[in-house]
């Protein structure tokens, strides 16, 4: 196997957490396979992000800070990653499976003649080849997949792999991937950013979700309050999103986001099978629900049977006190 390339997604010169995890896994695989590791960054801030990535194990980092990659286009960025893979002689390309990473795995694979593997959660090296495990049916089953082609492109699920340790910095090289104008047909006109900068659900360490038991959108400050106390982000069940109480970007489950945080707190969520599929690989699950028979308690490490309107304010206070002390 000639080599591994990790594409490091970045914003304003700061690499994404999922990308640092991909770099960590890339470094472990490179060591175990005895092959070189390279990294690449793209867009405004690519050079600054490359300098950070350079300390995480690659032999070199290609910084693609060119006008053609100034805004995001899947085709242009996919082409750039393919060019970087060819320039570094990589036969395995890794990315973090963020929203952008999912786009880019497909777009880069298309330009490398590969079939991508999305959202891997584990790797195994056997006979000089890498096999991957990836959840399917939103986590209701795990598929083990192997790639036979000359190049494989794999996106890694956030929170599934450990980032590597920092070490000596590798050289950073400016690299122009030569993006043709045909890849620049999609133009970003505007970015409507929400008021506060939030961590995405899929990358959050702590997720606090509210369900139908919250009884209405006016009660979600309780969910937000506990999330703030724990340092987490807010999620929601499908029922709540379908009712219009919360935006669909917060939905956890088979038709929403699949999450695997260190701590998942389910408030007033009964635990429909499609919700459980989306959060059952969380490391620790806490559930608060009035109904002791709710299916959520079958997967909860710590279940508390009670009224969310009584329990959540007390829990929020107790968490703040525990963290303060």
């Amino acid at each position: 196997m000639p080599g591994i390339l990790v594409f490091v997604e970045q914003k304003d010169g700061v690499p994404r957490k999922a990308s640092l995890e991909a770099l960590g896994e890339g470094a472990r695989l490179a060591k175990s396979l005895g092959v070189p590791l390279a990294a690449a960054t793209a867009g405004p801030g690519a050079a600054a992000a490359a300098a950070i990535a350079a300390k995480r194990g690659p032999a070199k980092v290609l910084a693609m800070e060119v006008p053609a990659l100034a805004t995001f286009s899947a085709a242009a960025h996919g082409r750039a990653i393919a060019a970087a893979a060819k320039a570094t002689g990589a036969s395995l390309v890794l990315l973090g499976a963020s929203a952008q990473g999912k786009d880019l795995a497909g777009a880069a694979a298309a330009r490398l003649g590969a079939s991508p593997i999305a959202d891997a959660t584990r790797s195994a090296v056997e006979g000089g080849k890498v096999a991957w495990v990836r959840p399917v049916y939103a986590g209701k089953a795990l598929a083990r997949v192997e790639a036979d082609g000359p190049v494989s492109v794999v996106s890694l699920r956030p929170n599934a792999f450990e980032p590597g340790a920092e070490g000596a910095a590798a050289p950073v090289e400016a690299f122009d991937p030569g993006v043709p104008p045909g890849d620049l047909r999609v133009v970003v006109k505007e970015v409507l950013a929400p008021a506060a900068k939030r961590v995405d659900l899929t990358e959050a360490d702590i997720v606090v979700s509210g369900g139908r038991g919250m009884k209405g959108p006016e009660n979600f400050p309780l969910v937000e309050g506990l999330a703030a106390a724990l340092g987490g982000v807010v999620g929601a069940s499908r029922a709540v999103v379908d009712a219009g109480w919360r935006p669909h970007s917060e939905q956890v489950g088979q038709t929403g986001k699949t999450v695997a945080p260190k701590l998942y707190v389910a408030l007033g969520i009964s635990g429909a099978i499609q919700h459980l599929a989306g959060m059952s690989s969380s490391r620790c699950i806490v559930a608060v629900n009035k109904d002791p028979e709710a299916p959520i308690f079958k997967v909860a490490d710590y279940g508390l049977v009670g009224d969310v309107f009584e329990v959540v304010p007390e829990l929020t206070k107790a968490v703040l006190a525990a963290k303060g002390g």
Binding site: D119, Y137, R144, V241, F297
Partner: protein
């Protein structure tokens, strides 16, 4: 203008997944099959565009087994004008092989706008639309929550982690639907009756191939059985103690 919507037949979200006898696919016994929910949203967006006079025709395209005729009929009953089922002859097909089969047919159909759901809820790959777009040399705009026709192209809102991007894309192009783009309608009785008279072609798909192969399918590791810490606010201190001392999360 023609719009093509690609649909995948998948197990319904309430399905309990069991591993089949071959150890690498699901046991189809008792599974309720449906159009993948995001593809249904894409179809609805296509139908609304036609109803707004932006397109003459919506074609539902599905690659699947002969049983997938049911999902194509559903699309016709919802309002699609024509259905095409590419009959998959069996054998493992990876994302690239799926995309190659769809791209071949889409090229022949001559649809300027190709719509997909952003992912299928069985394989969870979100790869095929980009592979199809590359094969057709068209741009692909993903995670779209709003679509408007402006001039000779489209203005699309795409939802990406924490922000909404407004992008302009020319036609022809490929667009993938995220929740919020449209609320799928139910097929009316009239629609179901009308569907029977609509053009519906079944034709063999190109042979399946796979460089990415599934070698095993298994249930996820079982979680330890659930544990009830206690009842009501009285149990809050114990819950916090466990989170701090046992789970080491505080």
């Amino acid at each position: 203008m023609k719009i093509a919507v690609c649909l995948k037949r998948v197990p319904d979200t309430t399905t309990k997944v069991r591993v089949g006898a071959d150890g690498k696919s699901i046991d189809p016994a008792g599974v309720e099959w449906v159009i993948s929910p995001y593809d249904e949203i894409a179809l609805e967006a296509g139908l609304q565009a036609r109803e707004a006079g932006k397109a003459e025709k919506v074609i539902a395209l599905c690659l699947g087994p002969k049983e997938a005729a049911k999902e194509v009929r559903t699309a016709l009953a919802m309002g699609a004008d024509e259905g095409v089922l590419l009959l998959d002859g069996g054998g493992e097909r990876d994302a690239a092989s799926t995309a190659a089969a769809l791209a071949g047919e889409l090229g022949a159909l001559g649809a300027e706008l190709v719509l997909f759901g952003w992912k299928a809820i069985d394989s969870d790959q979100a790869a095929v639309p980009h592979l199809v777009a590359a094969a057709l040399d068209r741009p692909c705009v993903s995670f779209v929550t709003k679509m408007a026709f402006e001039g000779a192209g489209l203005v699309l809102h795409r939802e990406v982690e924490g922000a909404t991007e407004v992008v302009a894309a020319p036609l022809p192009c490929v667009v993938t639907a995220q929740k919020g783009l449209a609320e799928p309608r139910y097929a009316s009785l009239k629609g179901i009756m009308a569907a029977k008279k609509k053009p519906f072609a079944e034709k063999p798909a190109p042979a399946a191939a796979a460089t990415v192969r599934t070698t095993r399918l298994e249930p996820p590791p079982a979680r330890p059985p659930g544990r009830i810490v206690g009842q009501g606010t009285a149990a809050v201190p114990e819950l916090v103690r466990l989170l701090r001392d046992e789970a080491k999360l505080l």
